[in-house]
């Protein structure tokens, strides 16, 4: 499932091995390993308190680690190296700016700290704050301030961008706008490290998702096949027309398990394409009008809830690393 094993060291922007962090008696991160390849959107997905922010802040250089290895752009984040700050853009959770400076002053000011800079106007345009460029930061709305955070992270033309829950508290339209801004960063070839507790966000943005629970990575892979999602059986659902046809009249379908509740039938199968063909051929040939017909794969949300849930499902997977 881990398709990044063959990446050379040069292509690895982040490498983490056996990372641990304790706060007193509480172990917030319990032996986490993963890699992030250049140009990839990597997403740490998990409920609040799973240890996502601790990991991001270790990689950003804000926190120390108790043990384990961490390398960001070939450097140890704990060294506080200026070379690292030059190449990394950070969007923290709830982090203020100088409230009495304007949007353009702030983007310009944070840009000056970097040897390599992008044009202030270009960055302000990219986050769609051009109309607010002369407003003071304290007059911005929450969503506008978050976009200003993104602009400040981008103005130093970073190779790697950390986004810690970038859309928490956004309305749906603002989230869509943020997502498209993040997508446009990928097109610039930036590597993005994202944390979120929204499944749809991970699904939409990430090339690679690692699901965390209780300080550990419990599953990792592409969003499409996370937790064996691609291998899970699909469900074919339909209702039988009133009168005449009973569930027993429906022919046997390839690889099926069938459950019947009155006129509603749910067929679980690992061969959804062939099963659907047999079923629909039978229905058409016999003029049986199947209602509410649908074929579904388990959603990322199903998998996520199963993985991070109460533990009924014994699906815990060791994180796979090279």
């Amino acid at each position: 499932m881990n398709s990044d094993q063959h990446h050379s060291t040069r292509d690895r922007v982040i490498e983490v091995r056996g990372l641990r962090r304790s706060y007193g008696d509480i172990e917030a991160v319990r032996g986490v390993s993963f890699e992030v390849a250049r140009g990839e959107v990597f997403c740490l997905l998990g409920p609040n308190g799973a240890g996502k922010t601790t990991i991001v802040e270790i990689l950003e250089g804000y926190r120390s680690r108790t043990s384990g290895e961490a390398t960001v752009l070939g450097l140890d984040p704990a060294s506080g190296s200026r070379a690292l700050h030059e190449r990394v853009g950070i969007v923290l959770q709830q982090c203020g700016v100088q409230p009495d400076l304007t949007v353009s002053e702030l983007v310009e000011m944070y840009g000056r700290y970097h040897v390599r800079q992008r044009s202030v106007d270009e960055v302000i345009d990219l986050v769609e704050l051009s109309e607010k460029r002369d407003e003071r930061a304290k007059q911005l709305s929450g969503g506008q301030r978050r976009r200003l955070d993104l602009a400040i992270a981008l103005v130093g033309d970073p190779d790697l961008i950390f986004l810690d829950e970038p859309t928490t508290g956004f309305d749906p339209a603002a989230r869509r706008a943020a997502w498209s801004a993040i997508k446009s960063l990928c097109e610039l070839g930036k590597t993005i490290f994202l944390t979120t507790h929204f499944m749809d966000e991970a699904q939409f943005l990430a090339d690679h998702v690692a699901v965390m629970r209780d300080g550990q990575i419990i599953a990792s892979g592409r969003p499409e096949d996370l937790g064996g999602r691609d291998l899970r059986p699909a469900e074919i659902r339909f209702t039988l027309p009133a009168g005449g046809v009973s569930a027993a009249d429906v022919p046997a379908l390839p690889g099926e398990q069938r459950s019947v509740q009155g006129d509603r039938v749910i067929v679980t199968t690992r061969e959804p394409v062939r099963a659907a063909q047999v079923l629909t051929t039978w229905a058409v040939d016999n003029a049986v009008d199947l209602g509410h017909f649908s074929v579904t794969q388990p959603t990322l949300e199903d998998i996520y809830l199963e993985l991070t849930g109460s533990g009924d499902h014994n699906q815990t997977r060791e994180e796979q690393s090279a």
């Binding site: 706060y23 007193g24 802040e57 950003e60 250089g61 804000y62 926190r63 120390s64 200026r82 700050h85 030059e86 990394v88 950070i90 923290l92 709830q94 982090c95 203020g96 700016v97 100088q98 409230p99 009495d100 400076l101 002053e105 000011m109 944070y110 000056r112 700290y113 970097h114 040897v115 003071r136 400040i152 130093g156």
Partner: protein
């Protein structure tokens, strides 16, 4: 930092001077704080210097009252623009996460702190010039011949003590809201026993001892010494300078302790 190439240092000094401009804009645009720390002391100056004009202090050899009061209010103004301003604003920056954000940028911490201090020194210089020029022009403050070196030494030491103490004080401010209350609770009562509003030569011994520990009275008395015609010829108050120097050392120690605290760790 010992291996910084020359060009990096030059670039960083350039960044400090840019940062001072941004800090200046931030200071003057926050009307509330600029009023509280800059206009407020000037208001007291105008009121009391006008009331006191023409009166003399018998207990101090009959010197003009304003030769005592104007240096005293200058001490108060310096404390307001350095200690009060920095303690309150740094607590706000810390709580808002600005310090944490700054830590994640390539701007070296020393450069940011230097700019904050540099900007504060500019404000302090401005209010010093305003108070002294207005004092001489409007209330006949007697500027002592040969007093300039003593004045500069006392001003520099006082500014250094209260600037570093202001930043170091942030450690003891639990949240931004309590900043102004705590700072004023600390400063205001001590001003009344520290030669700032009126001569405190005849206070009870305990209060005198308390006042002599803190740097407020040292700064006020040190400045008053320079303007006191009886002291011409000995242009510097040695005791005050000593106390200010000790507090500068304490201030630097507290400031470094505060600055070394990582902004990310919330344990």
């Amino acid at each position: 930092m010992s291996t910084v190439p020359h060009s990096t240092l030059r670039r960083d000094l350039g960044l400090v001077s840019w940062q001072i401009r941004y800090e200046q804009r931030s200071y003057w645009r926050n009307r509330g704080r600029a009023f509280f720390t800059f206009a407020f002391p000037l208001m007291f100056l105008v009121i009391f210097a006008s009331i006191d004009k023409g009166s003399h202090i018998a207990s101090r050899g009959g010197i003009p009252y304003d030769d005592f009061f104007i240096p005293g209010i200058l001490a108060y103004a310096i404390i307001a623009t350095t200690f009060t301003n920095l303690a309150i604003s740094t607590a706000i920056l810390q709580e808002a996460g600005v310090l944490k954000r700054m830590q994640g940028t390539p701007l070296p911490r020393w450069a940011y702190v230097s700019a904050r201090i540099g900007s504060t020194c500019l404000i302090t210089l401005a209010i010093t010039v305003v108070v002294l020029v207005a004092g001489v022009a409007l209330w006949g403050l007697h500027f002592p011949a040969g007093g300039l070196p003593g004045l500069i030494i006392t001003l520099v030491l006082g500014t250094a003590a209260f600037t570093t103490l202001g930043i170091g004080m942030t450690r003891f401010i639990p949240n931004a809201d309590s900043g102004p209350v705590l700072v004023n609770l600390l400063i205001l009562p001590i001003t009344f026993i520290s030669n700032i509003w009126f001569p405190t030569d005849n206070l009870p011994g305990v209060l005198k001892t308390i006042a002599s520990i803190f740097p407020l009275k040292a700064l006020a008395s040190g400045l008053q010494w320079v303007f006191d015609p009886r002291h011409h010829g000995t242009p510097l108050d040695g005791d005050s300078v000593k106390i200010l120097a000790i507090w500068t050392a304490i201030g630097i120690w507290l400031m470094i302790k505060f600055l070394r605290r990582p902004q990310g760790e919330v344990v």
